[in-house]
Symmetry: C2
Subunit: 458 residues, 2 copies
């Protein structure tokens, strides 16, 4: 028989049980919190029509879409006729969860409620060059409200996201916590206006401004010049960037004064103020920092924008904002929408580094019933049923074997307790309970085992 | 702007929130039960290397694999050179969850425990012609134990599957319940041996025998002759089929007598007896029926085979068995394995028909906080946080609006309770709780709302 390559395909990953349970633990917290905020799940196919996907992510994005080949006669026809990349395929693997949302909103507009509050957690596919932390199959985790322009929506989204991270163990905004950097497209536009950056160069200037964190003021200055921003506008913009106070309340006051002459700017400041008010006392409140130079590159944001920042880590743990012109792409209309995409893969990575996963993950077996005496086999099976009915997760060693191998198996699976039921125990209505971590063992009445184990795993 | 086709791609489905929550409800029960039996989750990529998939499902299966096109220069090269179906693709979408399991067992053999007990629930892809109930993207739900030849394994798998169905509301083996039809490859082989069917015609004869349910004894007779089974063997086999008692204990005794002269048959009978003993008193016990003519077509079963049957429905709700020669396909060795694949899509369908889903699905919002007075907005937000902290799922209406529209929105989302907090209520520390189903409303102290709602949704 030939040797096969049995690694997962390039850029994708296998998740063995421990990893799968850790992922599930995080997803469970996300779902529970998002549901408590009134969001419901949506699920869509991994495959989309190729023309649903093409043209939505720019030319570079189109190149990163995995194309699914046509089949049968259609494929043969395409192959026979000087075939092109697009002619041989009729489907693609979804690139994100936003285009599917836009498709859903267009297709089911008469069935959806006035506000569509959905979360969607699932794999997306990009034919990127695989690298450390960059995968071709990875999970996105999106939360969006479609249909409202109220800033209450931003507040809910930020609170929901912050509560997820808090429940996962990220506390406060210092080292072990996270910050929610918050800005507004109107503020950025206002800053450009009062600096005298011409409208047609605004996006260029924003790309430079967005790099402040990475390249500092001097770097931004260089980049502004390289992008053709004039001398006076560059000086004015840099002056503003140097002058902005760091603290959230102070920066809002400063922005309010600075942007007095810009209608866009004033509206942005007012909306940010609303979001601050509406998140006060909520989970997001203590994490928010207004950052008037956060730009997030993407040109589709139309209002507030935000980013989750872990202090010890470059790159973001999630991001989002208001994007009122995107969800209508298949609907021929503008539809207000606001969302947050958590960086699930990154969050999992940081949790592993910081040891934030619980010791006993839900899903791992809690006890192993050993199997060494054929006369007690039926009693072992009955004990397994009783413990499972009591809510415990119990494995039953399938083959009769020496105890050393059975304990070794328990160790391989991180099962902390072994139960031994031999003839002697049977006669006494008892069972030996062995703590596989400490090595201690104790004789216990069979009737008490379920309660004792439940106490231990509470 | 052009009109877009926004339906899901042919053969695939969108799951709007209610459907997504129903699917999640079933999957949650499956996962909880399977974990209580000591199984852990496995997750593998949707894409596999094309050569991992090809040749594993027969020629017809190869044609049903969705192929993912090569990219960039590799694709251009393939397209330039009189391209074939296989030359333009390097990946495919997984066709089932068994080949990925075999790949995992080969790749991680040194990291896996002595017995690998995994479940895997996820989408698989087949480029079949879509039809009612037949999808190109559908979920499989597999439970397998790799590494043991003990019949305890079959008992555990059958018990776990039966418990899932019981917890979903399928009770007993009559109309509203299900039967576990159980047979053994050795019994089938034994019946062929004692009937005088030559070994090389065994598979042909089995195909005919397997159709007993659908075409009756006369149909089987015709089919046996058509497949070249001789006169004497056909008569003998039909005699046995007519003679087999219907009742499980009786049929085992009859088989034991009938197959006395066949070593294969005797072993099969002994193993079936073991499984009956080991499932006695467990969830599977009351559902098992020995059916000595169940063959399940698939030639890869090597021991016990079983099928879940819903009395009012043709086709199966799940099936499985022992298949000791399949998991080793990438490992160059024989590895004992035994599993059960639940027919998730079919189970969902029957549950909907029989009304087995709970009224209040976990995940749906329980209360809507209305929004009609800007002076109480902050108090509304605070109430939302308090109720969510108390474990309730609470939606907050985002825009200030007339109450009629707000109640209509609640109806669209099946939210049964609305909370109204106006100036009058504020002054009294109260809130109006409106039952949107009965229309009744009640003034309640704000401090009591969380407890009262929790009682209601317990």
């Amino acid at each position: 028989m030939a040797r096969f390559l049995t690694k997962p395909i390039s850029g994708a990953r296998d998740f063995l049980p421990l990893d799968a349970l850790r992922r599930q633990y995080v997803i469970d917290v996300i779902e529970r919190v998002y549901q408590s905020y009134g969001f419901e799940p949506l699920d869509t196919p991994v495959m989309e029509r190729l023309d649903t996907l093409l043209g939505k992510y720019g030319e570079e994005g189109d190149q990163l879409i995995f194309r699914v080949a046509k089949r049968g006669a259609k494929l043969q026809k395409a192959l026979a006729a000087a075939p092109t990349e697009d002619a041989i395929a009729d489907a693609g693997l979804r690139y994100d969860l936003t285009v599917p949302l836009a498709r859903i909103v267009a297709e089911y507009r008469n069935q959806l409620p006035r506000y569509f509050k959905r979360y969607h957690i699932g794999p997306v596919y990009r034919a990127d060059r695989p690298a450390k932390g960059r995968y071709r199959e990875f999970y996105q985790c999106d939360l969006d409200i479609v249909g409202s322009s109220s800033q209450l929506v931003e507040a809910e989204v930020l609170n929901a996201g912050a509560q997820v991270l808090q429940e996962l163990g990220f506390r406060g905004r210092a080292e072990s916590g996270f910050r929610l950097r918050l800005n507004h497209r109107g503020v950025l536009r206002g800053l450009m206006e009062v600096s005298g950056v011409p409208a047609e160069l605004e996006m260029d200037a924003l790309v430079a401004v967005d790099k402040l964190d990475k390249i500092g003021l001097a770097g931004v200055e260089k980049e502004l010049r390289a992008r053709g921003i004039g001398e006076m506008a560059t000086t004015a913009l840099l002056g503003l960037m140097a002058a902005a106070p760091g603290e959230t309340v102070a920066v809002l006051g400063w922005l309010s004064d600075t942007l007095e002459g810009s209608a866009n700017g004033a509206q942005g400041v007012a909306e940010l103020q609303d979001i601050l008010t509406l998140t006060q006392g909520g989970p997001a409140g203590e994490h928010i920092c207004i950052d008037p130079y956060l730009a997030r590159g993407l040109s589709y944001y139309t209002g507030p924008i935000y980013e989750i920042e872990f202090p010890t880590l470059s790159g973001s743990g999630g991001a989002g904002g208001r994007y009122d012109d995107l969800i209508g792409m298949f609907s021929n209309r503008s539809i207000p929408a606001c969302g947050l995409s958590l960086g699930l893969e990154r969050i999992l990575l940081i949790m592993a580094e910081r040891g934030l996963f619980p010791q006993n993950l839900v899903g791992q077996p809690q006890a192993l019933i050993t199997n060494f005496d054929k006369d007690t086999l039926a009693a072992n099976v009955a004990m397994a049923h009783a413990l499972r009915r009591a809510g415990l997760r119990v494995d039953l060693y399938p083959d009769m074997d020496n105890l050393g191998r059975q304990f070794k198996y328990a160790e391989e699976r991180n099962i902390p307790v072994a139960l031994l039921l031999g003839g002697a125990e049977m006669a006494d209505g008892a069972v030996t309970v062995k703590n596989l971590i400490s090595g201690e063992q104790e004789l216990m009445a069979q009737a008490d085992v379920a309660d004792r184990l439940r106490q231990r795993f509470q």
